[in-house]
C-alpha cells in the first residue's frame, strides 16, 4: 500500500472501516468532526451503517443497541461530548458488550475550547460514569499509531467484551502525516454467541445491566474485576526512548509524550542522561515498568496537557522511590519542547539543592502566565 499523507481524524475513521466496523453513530463536535464527515460518505459506500444522532447521549445508546445486536460498532466525540456519553458507557460496561470510542480531546472544563488538551484522562481512565468499571484505553502519539491502535481496538473489545477507547487529542486529529493504512479485514460472517438476533431455534437471550439483589450485583462485579485484571496482565503497552542509561525519566502520553521526546533528544545533546517513557495503554497503566525504572532513576518528570492527571498514576507506580515532578500546560495549550527542557534542567538542579528529595516537596510547574 505504501505511505500516504493522511489527516488524523480521517485516518482513524478509515482504520476503523478496515478493521471491519459495520456501524457508526456519532454527533458533530470539533475537533473530531472530520471523522463523522468521512464516515458519512465511506460507510454507505460499503453498505454499512452510518447515522448522525440527535445528541451524544443518543449516539452512545445507538452504539449500545447495535453492540447488543452483535455489530462491530463505534462512535467518536470530543471531551464535552464524551462527558455526555458517560451514562451510556457505564451501562455498556455493565452489560459487557464490545464497542470502540474515539475521543479526540479538547480544552475544558465546560465548553472550554477546540484546542488540543488531555483533560479527559480522569473521566476516561478512572471510569467517569458510575460504578466500578474500567475501559481499555489506548493513547496514540502519531497518526500511524492511531491507525494501528484503531485497527486492533475492535478485536480487543470483542476479546474482553469491553469498551476500548482511542484517546487522542485535537492536534493528532487535525494533523497530517505520512502513514500507511492496513488491509481491509473481511466482515464477521456471524453474530457473536451472546448477541440479540431473535430467538430462532434457541432460548431467548437478555442483555441487561441490572442485578437487583446486592449479592448478585457483587458477584457480577467480581466477574468484572477478574476481567479487568486479565486486561491488566496482557494489554500493557508503552514506548520508550533512551531509558537504558537514563538518570532522569520523562513520562508523557499522546501528543505530550511526543513533544517530550523532542525535549529528551535536546537534553541528551546537552549531556543530560534522560529517557522517555510514553505509556500507550493508560488502562492498564504500565505501573510495573515505571516501578522498575524508579529503582535506578534519580527522578521523574511527568508532562501533560492538563493540571496533572496521569501524574497521580505515575506517583502511585513510583511509590516514593524517586521524586516525581510535573510540567503541564492547560486550556488547550500544547507544551513546547524548550519548556519541557527547561523543566528538566530545573528538576535536575533540585537534586543538587535537595540532598534527600522527598516526593511531597515536588510542586507542580505550570507553563504560561500565572
Amino acid at each position: 500500500m505504501g505511505k500516504q499523507l493522511l489527516k488524523g481524524n480521517e485516518a482513524i475513521a478509515e482504520a476503523a472501516v478496515r478493521a471491519g466496523a459495520t456501524a457508526y453513530f456519532g454527533y458533530p463536535i470539533t475537533p473530531q468532526t472530520e471523522l463523522l464527515e468521512y464516515l458519512s460518505r465511506r460507510m454507505p459506500e460499503l453498505n454499512r451503517v452510518f447515522l448522525q444522532a440527535e445528541s451524544e447521549v443518543a449516539a452512545i445508546n445507538m452504539v449500545y443497541g447495535a453492540a447488543c445486536a452483535g455489530a462491530r460498532t463505534f462512535t467518536s466525540s470530543s471531551s464535552p461530548g464524551v462527558s455526555l456519553m458517560m451514562e451510556g458507557l457505564s451501562y455498556i460496561a455493565g452489560s459487557e458488550v464490545p464497542m470502540v470510542l474515539i475521543d479526540v480531546m479538547r480544552g475544558g472544563p465546560g465548553l472550554g475550547n477546540i484546542a488540543p488538551a488531555q483533560g479527559d484522562y480522569f473521566q476516561i481512565v478512572k471510569g467517569g460514569g458510575h460504578g466500578d468499571y474500567k475501559l481499555l484505553v489506548l493513547a496514540p502519539a502519531t497518526v500511524q499509531e492511531a491507525i494501528d491502535l484503531t485497527y486492533q481496538a475492535f478485536e480487543l473489545a470483542e476479546k474482553y467484551r469491553t469498551i476500548v477507547v482511542i484517546l487522542a487529542d485535537g492536534s493528532l486529529g487535525q494533523m497530517m502525516e505520512p502513514a500507511e493504512l492496513p488491509p481491509m479485514k473481511p466482515l464477521q460472517s456471524e453474530a457473536p454467541a451472546w448477541a440479540l438476533t431473535g430467538a430462532q431455534s434457541r432460548p431467548r437471550r437478555v442483555i441487561t445491566s441490572i442485578h437487583l439483589e446486592p449479592e448478585d450485583e457483587e458477584a457480577f462485579n467480581h466477574k468484572l474485576q477478574v476481567k479487568f485484571e486479565e486486561m491488566a496482565r496482557y494489554e500493557v503497552r508503552y514506548y520508550e526512548y533512551e531509558v537504558d542509561d537514563a538518570e532522569w525519566i520523562v513520562v508523557g502520553f499522546g501528543t505530550a509524550g511526543r513533544v517530550a521526546q523532542t525535549a529528551v533528544k535536546q537534553a541528551r545533546a546537552q549531556g543530560l542522561k534522560v529517557g522517555l517513557h510514553r505509556p500507550i495503554s493508560l488502562y492498564p497503566f504500565p505501573e510495573r515498568r515505571l516501578a522498575e525504572l524508579a529503582q535506578k532513576a534519580c527522578g521523574f518528570l511527568v508532562v501533560e496537557m492538563n493540571a496533572g492527571q496521569m501524574l497521580e498514576d505515575v506517583r502511585l507506580a513510583v511509590n516514593g522511590r524517586a521524586p516525581v515532578n510535573f510540567f503541564g500546560r492547560m486550556g488547550g495549550v500544547v507544551p513546547l519542547p524548550d519548556e519541557v527542557l527547561a523543566a528538566l534542567w530545573q528538576m535536575t538542579d533540585k537534586k543538587i539543592s535537595l540532598p534527600h528529595p522527598s516526593p511531597v516537596s515536588c510542586l507542580p510547574m505550570y507553563g504560561g502566565r500565572p
Binding site: T22, A23, F25, V49, L51, A53, E54, S55, V57, A58, A59, N61, M62, V63, Y64, G65, A66, A67, C68, A69, G70, A71, T73, E87, G88, Y91, S95, L196, T197, G198, A199, Q200, S201, R204, R205, V206, I207, T208, S209, I210
Partner: protein, 256 residues
C-alpha cells in the same frame, strides 16, 4: 356390571400467549401493565414474530419487561430505549424491534430520543404506557400528570401555572414527519382493551410493511400510587384521563 361411558371433549377457551413467559409478576394488583404485556404477546403470536423480535425495556415499572416475554430483550438507560432500538434496527433490519416505555421514561427524560425516532421515521414500534404518574419511584408527578392531580411531588395538586400542562404524546408524535401510525387507546374496560389490541397489532404490521415509526399510547391504571382500588382506578381513567387524553387515531398513514 355396567360401565358408565363418558364422552369428554375439551374445548380450549383460554391460553397463555406463547410469547408471554410463565413467571410471577412484579406488577401491583390491579395495574394494567399486565394487560398491555398480554396484548403485545398476543400480537407477537398472531403475527408469528417471536423468533424475529427484539424488545427494549425502559427504566420504570416496566424495567423488568424482559422477564415477561419469550423473545430476545435488552434493557435501556432511562429514556434511551428509542436510541437503543434504533441501533438494533439499523444493524438488523430483518428483526422486529419494539420499545415498551412509561410516561416518565418517554415523555420526560427520553423526550429527545422519542421525538427523533419519529422524525427519522425509524421502522420501530413503541408501546407507551401513560398512567399519569411515576410508578416505580413511588408516585411522583410525571409530564402526564393531570392538572390538579395530587402526587408525592405535587402534594397540593399539579399547579399548571408553575408546572405547565401535561404532554399529549400521541398528538405530538403524530405531528412528526416520520410517524406512520400514532394512536391513543385505553385499558379501562374490555371493549377498549379489544380496540387497544387492534392498535398494537397495526403498530407491528406498520413495522413489517416498512412504513415508518408506529406509536400506541395506552391509558393505564396505577392503583397503588393513585391511592385507589383497582376498580376505582379504572373508573378514574374514564372519568379523569379520557377528557384530557381522548382516545383516537392521530395519524394513520394512507395505505395502511
Amino acid at each position: 356390571m355396567m360401565t358408565a361411558k363418558l364422552n369428554l371433549t375439551e374445548s380450549l377457551v383460554y391460553e397463555r400467549p406463547h410469547a408471554l413467559a410463565e413467571t410471577f409478576t412484579h406488577y401491583c394488583p390491579g395495574c394494567t401493565h399486565g394487560v398491555a404485556h398480554r396484548l403485545v404477546a398476543e400480537v407477537i403470536d398472531e403475527l408469528n414474530l417471536a423468533e424475529r423480535t427484539i424488545g427494549v425495556a425502559p427504566v420504570g415499572c416496566a424495567v423488568f419487561a424482559y422477564n415477561y416475554f419469550n423473545v430476545d430483550f435488552t434493557e435501556a438507560a432511562h429514556g434511551r430505549a428509542p436510541a437503543m432500538a434504533t441501533g438494533i434496527k439499523r444493524v438488523r433490519p430483518e428483526n422486529v424491534v419494539f420499545t415498551y416505555q412509561g410516561d416518565g421514561d418517554l415523555a420526560a427524560i427520553g423526550l429527545a430520543e422519542i421525538m427523533h425516532v419519529a422524525a427519522r421515521g425509524e421502522n420501530l414500534t413503541t408501546i407507551f404506557v401513560n398512567n399519569a404518574i411515576y410508578g416505580m419511584t413511588g408516585g411522583q408527578m410525571a409530564p402526564t400528570t393531570l392538572p390538579g392531580q395530587k402526587t408525592t411531588s405535587s402534594p397540593c395538586g399539579r399547579n399548571v401555572a408553575r408546572m405547565g400542562m401535561p404532554l399529549k404524546m400521541a398528538e405530538i408524535i403524530a405531528s412528526l414527519p416520520g410517524t406512520a401510525y400514532a394512536v391513543r387507546r385505553s385499558l379501562h374496560n374490555a371493549k377498549e382493551i379489544i380496540k387497544a389490541k387492534k392498535a398494537v397489532r397495526r403498530a407491528f404490521e406498520a413495522q413489517l410493511a416498512d412504513e415508518g415509526f408506529a406509536f400506541v399510547e395506552l391509558l393505564s391504571s396505577c392503583p397503588t400510587n393513585w391511592g385507589l382500588s383497582p376498580a376505582a382506578s379504572l373508573q378514574w381513567i374514564e372519568a379523569q384521563m379520557l377528557p384530557y387524553y381522548p382516545i383516537g387515531d392521530y395519524k394513520v398513514k394512507p395505505g395502511q
